[in-house]
Amino acid sequence: MLTDPMPTATAPRTADRAAPRWAARPEVRLAVLGGAVLALTAGYLLTDVPGSLGYALQKRSLTVLAMLVVATAVGVSTVVFHTVTGNRILTPSIMGFDAFYVLVSTVVVFTAGSAAFLAADPLVMWCVQVSVMVAFSLLLFRWLFGGRRRSIHLMLLVGIVLGTFFRSSSEWMQRMLDPLDFQVLSDSFFASMTRPDETLLALTAVLVVLGCLGVVPLVRTLDVLTLGEPAAVGLGVDHRRVVTALLVVVSVMIAASTALVGPVLFFGLVVANLAYSWAGSFRHVWTLPMAVLIGMVCLLGGQLVLERAFGFGGTLSTVIDFAGGLFFLYLVLRKGAR
């Protein structure tokens, strides 16, 4: 369909610079990315099978599912967080979530030793991680949003300070650890999607789906929130209630996915910002699925290249964080230059 609802002389100049007009439509771009995800999934599942295809499929589809869960959790929560806080650089991870995850693991190893850490039921570990992280974020949000209105900038600043505090506390404890304990611990800090625990994966998937179901009815309200709090209130949005609900969803989703695969510091930032520039629309109907699909392409593509081209696995997060860190610097410097 090429029907233009607004045939005016001054069309948006940026949209049709190089590509024909239909290629700039969000639906088309979403479909292209969806196709890419399907192709990558097929490539990952079906190529380079060492033994029985059935066995490989079973193992690999779990990995793909884990990636889908992580991409959804990180993509949706980052975009929502950006809209609610009115900025596009800081993410829950950068605010201290990941540092808190590291701290919780460190405390466990420090007090109980690596043997207990390894022996502990992953389900118990996961539940502890998720509940502690959700409790932490809700406490933070409640303290910052409850009662008198505080600025969102203060909240972000507090998050950064807390993140630094958690990181240095973890480092301090890690210094005093037995080298073997430290080895076990630092292994768990590299996000790995290749060998997910099936029970945890299912639990995380349920939480992420519930989170998405919570966001769907608010998709249009999120668009209004991009105008900022005063305008949103003027347009009849119950700002406090909506923002609190959205932040609960964000913290549950990000906590569940971090506890499943480990921290990926800059992943959300990369995915969300690419989604903003590729969606060609500010509307969350487009940016949210776009962020999820871009996340899938990054994870699947990255894993394929690492595993098949370079022959190692499990360190995808290092690559993502390296590229993501550079991208973060670029964003900060570009904003600063304005």
Binding site: T10, P12, D223, V224, T226, G234, L235, F282
Partner: protein, 252 residues
């Protein structure tokens, strides 16, 4: 009517709005004037439910602002704040569409589209409707925001310093627009103004605030007197009559 009854707001024990009881929103344009820090914006914030008062009650057409749902209020009262910075890239049309949110919750009906087109036409934004906001001049952008507020189709329209950062021509243009909206569309416009001469020439009624209190509330012509303005602003103001219109001179 917008009725304030004993409204007080303190910051750190210091009253910013001090026991204000006033009724706003009569026909036409009401201008709210006063020096910086007089409590004008806080008063607007309280009426627009952005600021919770420490004491007192605000009702809009009988609806208590503290207890009525935000959505119901948004179909009666539209508020345009001073700083309207939008992080995302929106077109004029996108922005004006938001004005229909209280009515349609984002699912536009044919009637909604009618209101949007009407608001865009009313502000002569037709040629710019698919332009991005960051591609517009200050005056055009301000008009786009006013179009959004008009598309909201409310009885009352509150504007906090709509002339900020505009040049002479655009200031006059915006004031004429507000006047027309009041006369032709029957909007009850209440606006904070710093330029008292615009208030004198375009408003029906002037409410003057100082130190959190209402110190004058009368038809524009009656407030435009040297002694009244000097007391409000604590500075010498000479009011002269030019072509039958009162003009304040404060450039001494």
């Amino acid at each position: 009517m917008i009725a304030l009854d004993g409204v007080t707001k303190r910051y750190d024990g210091q009253p910013v709005v001090d026991d204000v009881s006033i009724s706003l929103g009569g026909e036409g344009v009401t201008a709210l004037i006063g020096p910086n820090g007089a409590g004008k914006s806080t008063l607007f914030g309280i009426v627009g439910r952005l600021v919770r008062p420490d004491a007192g009650r605000v009702t809009i057409d009988g609806m208590d602002v503290a207890t009525t749902s935000s959505r119901d209020l948004a179909t009666t009262l539209a508020v345009l704040r001073q700083d309207n910075h939008v992080a995302a890239r929106l077109t004029v049309h996108d922005l004006v569409e938001f004005g229909r949110f209280p009515h349609s919750r984002g699912r536009l009906t044919v009637a909604d589209r009618g209101h949007i087109d009407q608001a865009i036409d009313y502000l002569d934004l037709g040629p710019y409707r698919s332009r991005f906001l960051d591609e517009l001049s200050g005056g055009q952008r301000q008009r786009a925001f006013i179009a959004m507020v008009l598309a909201q189709d409310t009885r009352y329209v509150l504007l906090d310093e709509p002339l900020n950062n505009l040049d002479l021509r655009h200031m006059a243009e915006i004031m004429r627009l507000l006047r027309r909206a009041a006369d032709e569309l029957g909007k009850r416009v209440i606006t904070v103004l710093h330029d008292i001469n615009f208030a004198a020439n375009h408003a029906d009624r002037i409410v003057a605030m100082r130190d959190g209190r209402v110190v004058a509330d009368a038809p524009a012509r009656e407030v435009m007197r040297s002694d009244v303005l000097a007391a409000v602003y604590d500075t010498a103001v000479d009011v002269r009559e030019i072509d039958g219109r009162p003009v304040a001179l404060y450039y001494s």
